[in-house]
Symmetry: C2
Subunit: 302 residues, 2 copies
């Protein structure tokens, strides 16, 4: 069943995610007008020039006039300020959703500032992205086959949740639902912590006196392990701040794992090390076969 | 200056590295006969069938008769036993080299068992590999543009070091020299530790009650961060055991870095986190531009 087109879509934060959502709905013939709003006038002008948005709004009053759907897609640290600023201008029927990598803080902002609007404020998180950021990298096909996690509120009207789900499905995405607490714990483990660990390794090496020498001999294993250390610092600062309790819990769990491996190394426990490595390898290979078109396979190249 | 062909090359451990060395020298017209030796008869037969080796030797006496060059390319944990076993059958002029990812243990084995042969026993480490292992994955082009680190002994005859260097150069490799201590410290930092960290993360998640759920939401950042967790457990067990002191030192350094980041998270220190992330990103991007044809770029996709 095809969902009906959005008359006016407002995208706050026209970067990779917001821009791709706009382009995907345009490609599907499911949006008549896209209005961009954001803190950077320059990036709104680029989005306009690229046809990602049809119009840039000067303020929330202008942006929200006649808006049917609003997607919040700026770094998660801005959520509360943005929700607070938009709230007074929101018409009763406008559907609000977001694309933040963390959910508890988004929900807190909704409860704080959208108290009368909770029927139509549906938190979401598309598990998609690319190496690039900014609206120049926006791509109508970005969400094809990717998961979008919705964490609906008890107050949400079922029709609003369905509408958000259908719009993402029209972008090619697969919908999952979770509680916000569960969402934030799961992504702390499989996404936020790995980012922190990769940043930590590169930072550690880069600050050494012999950093030049170390980097000269780093090869393909290092390349892949640290690829996410080139991620956007502000975005990841925000994720770390808003989800810091779950990330700390995951970090502490990981430190226990490292303490265990450290003991195996200290005691030169070959069978113990091989068992850990073999279990990890089996789990990684099973994951690769099941969840990704893992063209590059797994394994070392050093 | 083209180096002269090797009359008879012996490869111990005909896997990805040993097999690729044989194929590369064959492709360059620089070897007349390749003799394989190893603990697995089945893998020697596959290497024979694939034309990676010309003959499989039943024992070291047979393998070393008339051998001009020997490459040791089995997992590093076998080095001492292999060197001990070959020593009695080694003719005075035969050149011995190796491809181990660690060097101090190889040198210890040379000093222990090749006391009269040190002029011609040259330790080396090709920084190359691929996702696959085994002689089926052997590839004549594997070493093109890759570094090979030699860690010559004071006892080495300059002509022997030059000969080893020229053979690797004929495979397309770039030669570097380092002390074995420096080699083992550098690779503990940029290769061995990242492997341990990736194994640790996957092992940690795989052992949880909700492992299925966690893996379901893992995406591209996790894929690349953990690719090396699919590496060969025996090979990495051996590397961890023989280089455990350097790896422990690197692990402890990394644990200090994580303690620092943990403190930033605990205190919700946004500027501090952003500074670490921004420094890491700058270093990772500079590395990507300088050292790799980093087609995939860096950055997050979550």
């Amino acid at each position: 069943m095809k969902t009906k087109p959005v008359g006016r879509l407002v995208v706050c934060g026209v970067g990779l995610i917001g821009g791709s959502f706009a382009l995907a709905l345009k490609a599907a013939g499911l949006v008549r007008e896209v209005v961009g709003v954001g803190r950077s006038q320059a990036s709104l002008e680029r989005a306009l020039a690229l046809g990602v948005i049809d119009r840039a709004a000067a303020d929330w009053a202008q942006a929200l006039a006649g808006a049917e759907v609003v997607l919040l897609a700026m770094p998660v640290g801005q959520t509360e300020a943005v929700v607070k600023a938009m709230a007074p201008h929101l018409a009763p029927g406008t559907l609000v959703t977001d694309a933040g990598s963390t959910k508890r803080n988004v929900i807190e902002a909704f409860y704080l500032h959208l108290g009368g609007h909770l029927a139509h404020a549906v938190p979401g998180h598309p598990i998609a992205g690319a190496e690039k950021s900014g609206c120049e990298a926006a791509d109508a096909t970005l969400f094809r086959g990717r998961k979008v996690v919705l964490t609906p509120l008890p107050e949400n009207e079922p029709g609003s949740v369905l509408r958000v789900a259908q719009l993402w499905q029209a972008c090619g995405a697969i919908i999952r639902e979770m509680s916000p607490q569960e969402h934030d714990r799961v992504f702390a483990a499989v996404s936020h912590l790995p980012h922190v660990l990769a940043y930590a390794l590169v930072h550690d090496l880069a600050e050494r006196a012999n950093a030049e020498q170390l980097f000269e001999y780093a090869a393909g294993g290092f390349r892949d392990f640290t690829r996410i250390a080139a991620s956007h610092p502000e975005m990841w600062r925000d994720i770390c701040l808003v989800n810091r309790q779950a990330i700390l819990a995951e970090l502490d769990q990981y430190l226990s794992e490292l303490a265990f491996i450290r003991a195996l190394l200290l005691s030169a426990n070959g069978p113990g090390l091989e068992e850990v490595f073999a279990k990890a390898r089996a789990a990684r290979m099973a994951w690769g076969e099941r969840y990704v078109n893992d063209a590059n396979g797994g394994g070392s190249d050093e």
